[in-house]
């Protein structure tokens, strides 16, 4: 039509996708730099990654108020996507900050790590903007490809390789399920677009394609559920999280989960209303089972990393509490989901920073017992770790409490009082397992011996880790006490 209109539209499009583009460019630049760097532990690559993520976050923040004006087919950078990107960028930023110290302590710095982190983050951002089953699959692949490589980054350790292989095989199965489900859905209603699926849902359900469609839906959901670590698709998570380098475990447990959940939320929103009771009960069951199973299994864990892995599974269940009642209270549940995501990501980032500072290596079975008496030796680290664990358990005055409470509040308001009760039960159980390390640090005397020595020898004292823990601790306490601003952000981000 006329040029100026088209160029304005293009500019708006570029603007709304600018955070993602920055991440992509930064990833490529970081890769080039690492390829041509003279030293293996070049400081330039993390610096580029840091700058890239910060700029992406700034742009996301800048674009957020007028987001959603333009979209391309199958993708839309609406406020939900941008809010999700901002949330997912926080753990990625923390990973970039804590990784140099982590790899330096093990003499394992190798080029390419930060570029992979950026690529994974790019994949997450894309995933959260997708509105079509095909684009969701592509973004999911983009994200997990980078994550496979990251999990196996310390390739000398058998646990890392094992974790990566499990992750890879399970993801491959999930992708296969997903593709098959997509084909079934396309076959039954002729589209892979989420809004079209919502539109034709009732029509398909009453027709001949009913069973084919429902089967396809189940397959697609299970493909997404695997990445979210929903029970019964969670089995890969503890081994992978335990075996991967600690910063990578943070990325998988938080950002990747957040991104997949937002995609899942979009899918759920389009099928929740027509799905009715069927969807409600299915999502209810998965959410309740994930919460309870994660919490119960965490009771028996003696290794700190595995404990956190199971806690992350349990938290996936909490996050999925938003899904069953979407049809009744879609907006409220989306808000609650975003709020919980923020609380969860921040607390987990802090906890993993503390783990890095403790010097845990992949797959090393560091027992909770070995934390005994840590409060005397490293009081600030213990205080920080305690704060983050309590936030994960949902005790005030932390952000974790508010996130959990807001979720329960919205779920109860939507009439899902039974799910809220299950959430209460699961929090009690996870509190018990999270209190174990805390009581070990504060109430038990130090054990003497080889294990305690090895824990001390790999300690990483670095300014960046301290900074990460400090920032996260301040966020946990400040927003725990005054969540007003976050709430306003979440309110206007929900669709």
């Amino acid at each position: 039509m006329n040029d100026s209109f088209e160029s304005t539209a293009l500019a708006m499009l570029l603007e709304s996708f600018s955070p993602l583009l920055v991440l992509l460019v930064a990833a490529v630049v970081a890769l080039m730099v690492s390829a041509f760097a003279r030293r293996e532990n070049s400081r330039l690559e993390p610096a580029i990654a840091l700058a890239g993520i910060l700029i992406a976050m700034f742009l996301g923040w800048y674009v957020w108020p007028r987001a959603g004006a333009v979209s391309v087919p199958a993708m839309a950078m609406d406020r939900l996507a941008l809010a999700g990107l901002l949330i997912a960028c926080v753990p990625s930023l923390m990973v970039v900050l804590i990784s140099p110290a982590y790899f330096a302590a093990r003499n394992a710095a190798r080029p390419g790590f930060y570029s992979l982190v950026l690529l994974a983050t790019f994949g997450m951002g894309t995933l959260m903007a997708c509105r079509d089953l095909i684009s969701i699959l592509l973004a999911l692949m983009l994200m997990s490809m980078a994550l496979y490589a990251l999990v196996a980054f310390l390739r000398g350790r058998p646990q890392s390789v094992e974790g990566a292989l499990k992750f890879f095989i399970m993801s491959a199965f999930a992708a296969a399920f997903y593709c098959m489900g997509m084909a079934f859905i396309f076959g039954s209603l002729g589209s892979t677009d989420l809004s079209t699926i919502a539109h034709r849902f009732d029509y398909v359900l009453s027709g001949e394609g009913r069973s084919v469609f429902l089967f396809g839906l189940a397959m697609v959901s299970s493909g997404l559920a695997l990445m979210v670590t929903a029970v019964p698709f969670h089995a890969w998570a503890p081994d992978t999280l335990d075996g991967s380098p600690t910063p990578v475990a943070l990325l998988i447990a938080t950002s990747a989960k957040a991104a997949t959940l937002v995609a899942f939320l979009r899918l759920a929103m389009s099928i929740a209303a027509p799905g009715g009771v069927l969807w409600h009960h299915l999502a209810w069951g998965i959410s309740a089972a994930t919460m309870l199973w994660g919490a119960l299994a965490s009771l028996g864990q003696s290794s700190l990393k595995r404990l956190l892995a199971y806690i992350s599974i349990s938290n996936a269940g909490f996050l999925m509490m938003a899904l069953p009642s979407l049809a009744i209270a879609g907006e409220g549940m989306t808000r609650a989901l975003l709020m919980y995501l923020i609380a969860y990501c921040v607390s987990m980032a802090g906890a993993y920073a503390a783990l890095v500072s403790l010097g845990l290596t992949p797959g090393e079975p560091v027992d909770v017992r070995h934390l005994s008496g840590l409060a005397k030796r490293r009081p600030w680290l213990s205080a920080g770790l305690t704060l983050f664990l309590l936030s994960l358990a949902g005790l005030p005055p932390t952000l974790g409490f508010f996130g959990k409470y807001y979720l329960i509040y919205e779920a109860a308001g939507a009439g899902d009082i039974s799910l809220a009760a299950v959430a209460g039960l699961a929090s009690v159980i996870s509190l018990v397992s999270l209190l174990k390390p805390v009581s070990a640090m504060y109430l038990r005397e130090a054990v003497s011996g080889r294990r305690a020595g090895s824990l001390r020898s790999l300690q990483v004292h670095r300014g960046e880790i301290l900074a990460v823990m400090l920032i996260m601790a301040l966020a946990v306490v400040f927003f725990g006490l005054l969540p007003g601003n976050l709430l306003a952000f979440v309110y206007s981000s929900a669709l």
């Binding site: 809220a420 018990v432 109430l443 969540p483």
Partner: protein
């Protein structure tokens, strides 16, 4: 100057909440070596907060409304605000917990078993939590303070020094977490349904009968664990057994009151229909607790198990008073709580000063006390009799009001409660008299006399005990209107009857109970 006074007076309640927190921060900032300094600072702040709460108690008019309200906007989009205020009952509870906290610092004065500094930080934050939850009229704030208090007491129990203390702390954490989860879910539902976290507004919101039954069920579980109801009292026994004298005092003197206060302030006024629905169950639980506790006193050998049993028994009576839905009974229940707390502080402090092992004493260790340390024996008798509800001492006013009141509405249960009280009195008399005047134990040197500042403190407590006994009118006046308001709210039975055919919607039928 006037403006300053004005400012202080309007924020008096917030000051009472903040004071212990400031104290905790100061103790935390003390150097690690200053264990002795920490207890002095802790004592100073407990006394300061006692003074503040006494000023509040004096200033409260006792109108039955919430007074001295202090409101700050907090999370306005959810209808959550920082909203504190007191009525006669909460002011009395406030004084009780700061009194208990001050006594508990003294009770563990020479007990250096586990880190003094951390212990006192936990004690002060626990006091802050308790103070806060007694003055909150916003449910969210209530929950925050509730968690602060429970986490602090969990830490205090864990610092008992024994190996089993950590287990006891974990058990306490589990019970507190179950209680908390039940409370959070119920309150979330109540708030979402009423559209506000302001507790006072919940009372004017009409919850459906089924809603009320579920809400009350959740809240009763939450507060019943803390009360503790007979059967849910396991945590109390374990926590008390392994903890220091100061922790024991806080748990028995102050923490269990939270359970009764929860029933009084939130659970029962919120769900009158559920109160009438569950009436028999609550009364049976209450009376069973009273009787069971009294029997545990008979069976108890060591000092701690006996005072725990007394507490279970008396808290059963308190619940009976509340569930009787009668003005006198409710006021009596509140007074009984206060009296029990004060007398308990006295007896734990006394036992701690008598024994070198800070409260880990069997009752027979006191044998022959009357001959060796007559003053101590007198005080022991005084506090026991006050706990047993002897006329002229603290427990009498509350217990007699409670039983007289409940006799009017729940006669059978009142008689059972009376027999429980009588059983408790007999058991206590036998136990104490038998040990005080019995033959002296072999190890002469084990029991020290009571001297110096301990004697002075005990004299003060004894004066309070006697004062509350001979002149209960003042306190009763403070709590009387609040109790009336509580009974009025808990007794309004709202029934939403299904609409008859032809009528649209549902109609609300109100009746005001069976007697005035």
């Amino acid at each position: 100057m006037n403006a300053l006074m004005e400012y202080i007076l309007t924020h008096l309640v917030s000051g009472a909440v903040l004071l212990p927190l400031v104290g905790a921060a100061i103790v935390f900032a003390l150097p690690a070596r200053a264990a002795r300094g920490s207890r002095a600072v802790a004592l100073a702040f407990c006394l300061a907060s006692l003074a503040t709460s006494l000023i509040i108690l004096f200033r409260v008019q006792g109108t039955g409304e919430i007074e001295l309200i202090d409101v700050l906007p907090w999370i306005s989009s959810l209808g959550i605000s920082y909203r504190v205020g007191v009525d006669g009952v909460s002011a009395l509870m406030l004084s009780l917990v700061s009194f208990t906290a001050a006594s508990s610092v003294l009770a563990s004065w020479n007990d250096g078993r586990a880190g003094g500094k951390a212990y006192h930080v936990a004690l002060l934050t626990g006091l802050c939590g308790l103070t806060g939850l007694f003055v909150s009229i916003d449910a969210f704030l209530f929950m925050v303070f509730w968690c602060v208090a429970m986490a602090s007491f969990c830490a205090m129990i864990g610092m008992g020094g024994e190996r089993s203390a950590i287990k006891a702390a974990l058990a306490f954490a589990i019970f507190a977490a179950i209680s908390g989860a039940a409370m959070f879910v119920s309150m979330a539902y109540a708030a979402k349904s009423a559209g506000s976290f302001d507790i006072l507004r919940w009372f004017s919101h009409r919850y459906g009968v089924n809603e009320q039954i579920w809400l009350f069920g959740g809240l009763a579980l939450a507060f019943g664990i803390i009360l503790p109801l007979a059967g849910l009292h396991v945590w109390l026994r374990d926590s008390v057994m392994d903890s220091k004298a100061g922790t024991t005092m806080m748990l028995l003197g102050a923490v269990v009151k939270v359970g009764a206060y929860g029933f009084f302030r939130i659970a029962m006024p919120l769900a009158p229909a559920a109160v009438s629905y569950f009436s028999t169950a609550i009364l049976v639980f209450a009376v069973a607790g009273a009787l069971y506790g009294a029997m545990l006193v008979i069976a108890g050998r060591d000092f701690k198990s006996v005072i725990t049993a007394i507490t279970i028994s008396q808290m059963g009576l308190v619940l009976l008073g509340l569930a009787s839905l009668q003005d006198y009974a409710a006021a009596g229940a509140v007074l009984l709580m206060a009296a029990h707390g004060v007398a308990l502080c006295g007896i734990v402090l006394l036992a701690g000063s008598l024994s070198s092992e800070a409260g880990d004493v069997a009752f027979r260790d006191f044998s022959g006390l009357a001959g060796r340390a007559p003053i101590a024996a007198f005080l022991m008798a005084l506090f026991s009799l006050a706990l047993a509800g002897m006329p002229g001492l603290a427990g009498f006013a509350g217990e007699s009001l409670l039983l007289m009141g409940s006799f009017q509405t729940r006669t059978a249960y009142s008689v059972a409660g009376l027999s429980a009280a009588a059983l408790l009195a007999c058991a206590l008399a036998i136990k104490v008299a038998g040990s005080l005047f019995g033959e002296a134990a072999d190890d002469e040197g084990r029991l020290k006399g009571v001297h110096g500042w301990r004697l002075a403190t005990l004299a003060v407590i004894a004066t309070v005990v006697v004062g509350m006994g001979v002149w209960p009118g003042w306190l009763a006046g403070k709590v009387w209107r609040s109790s009336q308001a509580f009974v009025k709210l808990s007794k309004r039975v709202e029934m939403i009857v299904p609409a008859a055919a032809g009528e649209a919607g549902s109609s609300v039928v109100r009746s005001d109970g069976d007697d005035a």
